[in-house]
Amino acid sequence: MTPTASSTASTTSSHAVFDDIVRSDSSLRRFLHGLPGVDQVGCEARAAGLATRSIKTTSKAYAIDLAIRMVDLTTLEGQDTHGKVRALASKAMRPDPADPTCPATAAVCVYPDMVATAKQTLGDSGVNVAAVATAFPSGRAAMDIKLADTRDAVEAGADEIDMVIDRGAFLSGRYLDVFEEIAQVREACGDAHLKVIFETGELQTYDNVRRASWLAMMAGGHFIKTSTGKVQPAATLPVTLIMLEAVRDFREQTGQMIGVKPAGGIKTTKDAIKYLVMVNEICGEDWLDPDWFRFGASTLLNDLLMQRTKMTTGRYSGPDYFTLD
């Protein structure tokens, strides 16, 4: 594909070393298609192998508290109301009202029109407000609308923006369009952190996931995120493995750390621990922090709380002992 004059003019990357790569669609394609391929069978076997780690006693207690601190407690429904968001924000600050030692979650994740309400409830608790923007979840809107959506959320007080990429552009090979979209949203974010959602269930191949990861990192995303939660399959261990390898390799090359957020379908403590083991063994302990790894989840938190209570009291209590939201 021949680069257009307009698309070559303004493009810069997060690091000067990438400037030549993002100069045109063809140079960007050469780079992304030159990344080492992913063998599907081997990748899935590696993920399954790590999932057999047995995490017990003290290490389980550590993992549960860490996982709670990494949760982006999420409600992204058409039926969301201010009351629902206030309740969710309260829960994020005090997930287990019966136990003050239980840590807060990292953030609550809502639609842009709910940001002000969430911010009001959370105050200076340290729990961030993340807003999905850019015509979430499909991303099918004009660029100025996506940017307005982003600015609206930031002005309402969002600390973090979860954007979706244009999967249509990506799948048709218009990588530079995707790159510029991410770069422009990043600019519109101001001080807010940008998470870039790939919707890996639509990208389908692991090669695409690796390419999307590099694209987003070069364009200045702070986090790369698997899914909206609206498309199946959402987060999986092998997809997250590819993204973790990408941020690991990106740091090798640039010295800069990028965060990873699997989202959608992670429901149990057992699942969450598998992800943490993977972070630990692929990226190392530097990434075992809410600044660098998040879970996008709604039902996961209660299972973490139930397991946490089991660890401290030795007994399982029923679901009625944990709040609904």
Partner: protein
């Protein structure tokens, strides 16, 4: 705070190790007439049990029992009836899988995650697979007439899996067996003998005689043994070939290897690194088909080595019964000495040695995962089988050079090719002189797939339809036997 994994040991309570074991002859455990020997846990050097040594007379008793069972019961039984016993054995192996896995790890030193997830499932799969052949031998292409009594001698690296590879096809074809497990790992074979009792297998169909080299020699040279099957070192394999030369015994040998694992510059690198690790550190490198020679294309050699070392640093070496252990104990003091010796030779010949940083336990036999770079074809560590967690790295520039180096060895058991290019996989597979060629994977075993070597890696095939050939009199029209 770092994410330390708390100890997660598999319980030993499920296994009941007796203070002493006899020989399993004619369906019963009997005392041996040789000098009994001890088997130890290589991870702790703790003595596990006293095991009988079969003398020449004991071996003779076992062969007689096998002959009786062959003529009176097993060869007369229909294939469908034999299959019932094999299916029953396969099911009992699955039911007692955890017990077998724990005992295998205790006696052998291999990590429980491998004995649990690899060894025992493959063992059961072999019995299921060959059970299916028992009543279909007329379609095998090798006839359906058994040979008689098979004498089988197996190594210590996969004690139960090698037993299954030997016993399952032999029984399916209507032969009876006298099997000798390795002297350092007899316990799971003796537990298998109990499983034969539990399955009501007719007495004498399976006989297990324990002992060392002398017992093995007695089996191989016994005049009433019709078939010799051996897995082990090339040196012993050659001695067996000499011992049976001139007799009408049928022989299959599965011997050593020095496999090339070839990584091209277009390979899926992260998966290739996993394949390199799995190729040489799986089962502590005690694998005849281990990918012990890494041939990596020069253009990506530095990157692959950096990724490999980073990955090796995450390998968890230690207690074989801990569910998070990746690399267990070296099987014996003798083997450890051999690995150390060859590694020192590697250093003195000028190769650069790097070992993964890990704390090794004070007791037991341990060797840290090690890689040698700057190795050339002239180095002994590039030619001799080390049979331990030691990788020799060589580089190449073109596919032809890779083939030349890969084939430049007296062995020819296995090879690996890593590339994203399908056509290159096929052309490499055609030119590699190795019995098994893995593409973008390594050390994958399946009962439906034949396994065996070229050149000094042995002859005959085990597994798959081909695995039946070694246990049948080939009476098909046009057969050359």
């Amino acid at each position: 705070m770092t994410f330390e994994y708390a100890p997660a040991p598999e319980s030993r309570a499920i296994v009941d190790i007796k203070p002493s074991y006899g020989l399993f002859i004619n369906g019963e455990f009997v005392d041996g007439n040789g000098t009994s020997f001890k088997t130890v846990n290589p991870a702790t050097e703790e003595v596990l049990a006293e095991v009988a040594e079969a003398s020449d007379a004991d071996v003779d008793e076992a062969v007689k029992a096998a002959r009786r069972a062959y003529t009176r019961v097993w060869s007369r039984m229909s294939g469908a009836e034999r299959a019932k016993y094999l299916y029953r054995i396969a099911r009992i192996i699955q039911e007692r899988g955890r017990e077998l896995a724990v005992l295998e790890s205790i006696d052998n030193g291999k990590p429980i995650k491998e004995s649990r997830d690899v060894d025992v499932p493959i063992v059961a799969a072999h019995f299921f697979y060959y059970a299916g052949w028992a009543d279909k031998l007329q379609y095998s292409g090798y006839g359906s007439t058994p040979l008689g009594v098979a004498g089988q001698v197996i190594p210590w690296n996969f004690p139960l899996m090698m037993l299954a590879w030997k016993i399952a096809p032999a029984l399916a074809c209507g032969n009876t067996v006298v099997l000798k497990p390795a002297e350092t790992t007899p316990l799971t074979a003796l537990l298998f003998a109990e499983i034969c009792q539990q399955a009501d297998l007719p007495p004498g169909v399976v006989n297990i005689v324990t002992g060392a080299g002398d017992t093995g020699r007695a089996i191989v040279s016994h005049p009433d043994v019709d078939k010799v099957a051996f897995t082990g070192s090339t040196e012993v394999g050659k001695a067996i070939a000499r011992a049976v030369a001139g007799s009408d015994k049928k022989v299959t040998l599965e011997l050593g290897g020095k496999a090339a694992n070839i990584v091209f510059d277009d390979a899926p690198l992260d998966q290739a690194v996993e394949g390199i690790v799995n190729g040489i550190f799986f089962n502590q490198g005690h694998v005849c088909c281990a990918g012990s020679r890494l041939l990596v294309q020069e253009s990506v050699a530095d990157e692959v080595m950096a990724r490999l070392k980073r990955r090796m640093a995450t390998l968890r070496v230690g207690d074989p019964l801990d569910k998070n252990t990746d690399v267990g104990a070296i099987n014996s003091a003798e083997q450890l000495a051999k690995i150390r010796e060859l590694s020192e030779i590697g250093e003195s010949e000028g190769a650069e040695r790097w070992s993964a940083p890990c704390d090794l336990p004070a007791n037991g036999y341990w060797f840290a995962p090690t890689v040698f770079t700057g190795v050339s074809q002239a180095h002994r560590i590039a030619r001799e089988e080390i049979f331990g967690p030691v990788l020799s790295v060589l580089t190449f520039r073109t596919p032809s050079e890779a083939i030349e180096k890969a084939n430049n060895t007296p062995f020819g058991l296995s090879a690996g090719v890593w590339t994203d290019k399908g056509s290159r996989i096929l052309s490499m597979a055609n030119r590699l002189r190795a019995g098994v060629v893995w593409a973008n994977t390594f050390n994958k075993f399946d009962p439906t797939s034949p396994f065996g070597g070229y050149k000094e890696s042995g002859y005959g095939r085990e597994g798959g339809r081909h695995g039946l050939e070694g246990y049948l009199k080939n009476t098909e029209k046009g057969a050359d036997a």
